[in-house]
Symmetry: C2
Subunit: 188 residues, 2 copies
């Protein structure tokens, strides 16, 4: 099984023989550091899977860039509202480092639905899972301090703090770079 197959199997639980068919639709795409997978305002007609490298998802809000998520290996990159509802994308996806993606376009993505039994149900389950993750994230903002949010992310993924400039992690955590810097100092 390729890596992509493993992840798709893990996320969607499709039978092995369907897997092979699905992954043939994905084409490798390389991004150079700084390149965009998708810019806000465009139509997100492609779904990407991060094979290597780091992709930042951000939006401009009141003259500031707000980083919503940082995707590493194993994450999908897509503006869901745009991909599903064919609206202009709200998020920018920019490669932080050189990155390798596997990418599928709308048309081929829809073919999966015709090809794989129960695909829409599996999709539903996957998106429901994503929804519950976001619910938890909202909860962290309702119930935790900046310090607690930092501690949680650090416990969840130490690696990230070596790979990504801290200012972007600060944004993703909903605090300023200065605050993050001070919190890190406190926790030696």
């Amino acid at each position: 099984m390729t890596e992509l197959e493993k992840y798709i199997h893990g996320y969607f639980g499709v039978p092995t023989d369907d897997l092979a068919k699905i992954v043939t639709f994905f084409k490798p795409v390389s991004l150079k550091k700084g390149e965009y997978f998708l810019k806000a305002g465009q139509l997100s007609d492609r779904l990407g899977f991060v094979q290597s490298g780091i992709v930042r998802e951000y939006v401009e809000a009141n003259d500031k860039e707000v980083t919503k998520w940082i995707s590493t290996k194993g994450y999908f990159v897509v503006d869901l509202a745009s991909f599903v509802f064919h609206q202009p994308a709200r998020w920018n996806f920019q490669a932080f480092t050189d990155a390798e993606l596997y990418v599928i376009d709308q048309k081929n993505y829809q073919r999966i639905g015709q090809m794989v039994d129960r695909w829409h149900e599996l999709e539903k389950l996957f998106i429901a899972k994503c929804f519950t993750v976001l619910e938890e994230r909202v909860l962290t903002h309702l119930s935790m301090t900046a310090e607690e949010r930092y501690q949680q992310l650090f416990a969840f993924n130490k690696e990230l703090f070596n790979q990504v400039p801290l200012q972007y992690l600060a944004s993703m955590l909903g605090m300023t770079p200065e605050t993050l810097s001070r919190l890190r100092k406190k926790s030696f």
Copy 2:
């Protein structure tokens, strides 16, 4: 068309003849003020639709109750993770006022999938929509001050501020009741 049919049609876009079949599965349930539709820890084996009244969705975190959402007419009440993945519920759903719900249980809900063409796809679209709403909510916490979040909610739904004790709205906005009180005073 009943109200329930209208809402389901609006959310899912099912054909009219399927609608009638779907709504027959929903049974009216009355909740008295203070009663629970679902308690954290239980299995959420029912999906509810609010016909009238107000239902609060909250969780206990560090000795404090955190209100995640307040549902009025037209909202669904369900712990998605529990309903879909059969895990114990994380959220409590309590009636704030006397409330009328239409409720469907797991078993009948699954029958819809067998009965209505493309149902899983419509479900997917609905949940995707919910996901994007949550994305926006996360963004408000990453990019807006407490005051801006209050202003936004107030602009979106003034009514709520007459119907619900402010302390719970404060919690839902991620601030203390005192802070909300002061922000409201500022905006005369």
